[in-house]
Symmetry: C2
Subunit: 347 residues, 2 copies
């Protein structure tokens, strides 16, 4: 099996730790190594390093080569520009040598957390076995632990086959709170984690059928690779979910229970770190007096808090962020303000 | 008139900005220059630089010479060790050349803020005139603006002489809240700001009368200056208030209204800085989104806050402090904790 790690993201939700040239997937957040390297490590021994591919942007390619030096250089596929996930995955698969393209390919985001890698690999194996039995696109859906309104959901048919595979009835958008409660109670919904397994050649056939513009563009690039930049810019910018997955009538899923988190915010990170007796968690040097339930993340220097509760405090060499955990989704507002002031060195 | 600035303090209340070798008086807090330099500047033109003396400790002498290079080197008097204010002032006065000692001397803390230096100098002039009229020890007492329980008070006799000088009836310790309210309402109490004016020779006579042990020790040092370190260690360790001022029956005071603050904490500093429209005040680079009434003090790097209120956030090159303003008096607890962990580089 091959793995294709999607590492082109450039989110802002972990500012000030994340920056334009050091996005979330390159950060160590819940361990000593970056999320990207964790993603690579958790595949082994199921998928060998020489069978791992990384899709990213030209702006990040050098940093990723540096982060994963053991990867063959040709396996780091740098998009000329970001055009959303359908072109990224399509181009990466089409760019692989034929042997790899004919193999099974697991597509994985580079910036998620998995507490139990063995359970994760077992789900990948189950998906691979399901494809061996009957060729189709598989997805791994996360068994929900709370009525989260921040994810898309997969509605599954009740009743799995003996290996635990469910047919996917439909993709559903992020629900409101009441609907999310219903989803959780029903047991028939999984979080869409953006993890897919398919045979490369079969996936390209699906693309040809469902997104013919994209398929033609990919063939044009394959025919004239020296024109990649120009042709890439003309690919339709669309997501894999919208363009492909939601339209498949034969999609199946393996429910995943592996301590998964998308680490979507500082608050989400604080929930997966092990707190001390006072409920404070984090990384680096900190001292807390009469302070509870804070995330204290010091990449540089020491954080000292006294008498505060429920805060995120993040210290880098050039900045510090202080906000309530509950407002972690709003970090972008600070970045917008810094941008408006021309503080580009902080972005 | 001579000035004697007391700059031997080593407080911890402005940690992490203040450190053992960079105490409060060497920090710029409410202006671009240090409190010590502000203290020097506000004396001019009443007291020329060549008539200013600084009492400090050996540990700080070099830093103070560096901070006030225009001061004659011999005017920086470094105590071999800190023995409280009575020996510090007594030794400094006794060490001055006879001409200075016979002059009037204003004793001033090095780490206070005065918003209106002209009013401050006018009060010093009034005190000097009062001594010229009749030789005695004068103090400058601050007209209270709130029922503060953090200061000692001077009870004054109602009815000033035509120049505005009041006799001091007694020194009183820090009051409880109800008593402080009474003091404020009565109009007969002033804050003891530790500012004194006297003729040096007259002061030494008072010391001889009220603290004979100290006077003998000072004479011994004057006779054998090469034994200063040994003899200094034997001086009685006592405060000028307790040993001298509280025992004088002829003490008088000039009420001071000059925007005075002892800047006793981060909260006290936040009250004298000019806030922006959202009530945030501070120094250095900061960005605040939906955040109110915070003190944002960045000596190094940028402070970014979102959705927080009433906090102190202080960023230095190696540390950051976050606490509610209302708990500013408790900073020492963090220092104690850091000390217990052996983090001496942060103390």
């Amino acid at each position: 099996m091959q793995a294709l790690i999607l590492a082109g993201g450039s989110g802002t939700r972990f500012w000030p730790l994340s920056r334009r040239h050091r996005p979330k997937q390159l950060l160590p957040l819940d361990s000593e190594v970056s999320l990207l390297r964790e993603t690579l490590l958790r595949l082994q021994p199921l998928i060998a390093v020489e069978d791992v591919w990384v899709s990213t942007t030209e702006a990040l390619a050098e940093a990723i080569r540096h982060e994963l030096p053991e990867l063959p250089a040709a396996h780091i596929l740098a998009e000329p520009e970001g055009r959303n996930t359908a072109p990224a995955i399509g181009w990466a698969v089409r760019s692989m040598p034929e042997a790899a393209r004919r193999d099974l390919i697991a597509v994985l985001p580079a910036d998620h957390r998995v507490a139990h890698p063995e359970a994760f690999r077992a789900a990948l194996r189950t998906a691979a076995d399901a494809i061996a039995a009957r060729d189709r696109v598989m997805t791994l859906g996360v068994r929900p632990r709370r009525p989260d309104t921040g994810f898309g959901y997969l509605e599954i048919e009740s009743g799995a086959d003996p290996s635990g595979v469910h047919r996917v009835r439909r993709f559903v958008e992020k629900p409101d709170a009441a609907t999310a409660e219903e989803y959780l109670a029903s047991g028939r919904y999984l979080w869409n984690a953006g993890i897919f397994v398919f045979r490369g050649t079969s996936f390209l056939e699906v693309v040809t059928r469902l997104v013919p513009d994209l398929a033609r563009g990919l063939e044009a690039i394959a025919a004239e690779p020296h024109r990649t930049a120009e042709l890439y810019a003309a690919l339709p910018s669309t997501s894999i979910d919208y363009a492909v997955m939601e339209k498949l009538d034969d999609l199946a899923t393996v429910p995943l229970e592996c301590g998964w988190s998308d680490l979507g915010s500082w608050e989400a990170l604080s929930e997966v770190l092990t707190p001390d007796e006072a409920g404070n968690a984090g990384s680096g040097e900190s001292v807390a007096v009469d302070a509870r339930d804070n995330l204290l993340f010091a990449e540089h220097g020491t954080i000292a808090v006294l008498g505060v509760e429920g805060l995120v405090v993040v210290r880098t060499g050039d900045a510090v962020l202080v906000m309530p955990k509950s407002r972690s989704q709003e970090v972008r507002k600070l970045i917008t303000e810094l941008g408006a002031r021309g503080r580009n060195e902080l972005l």
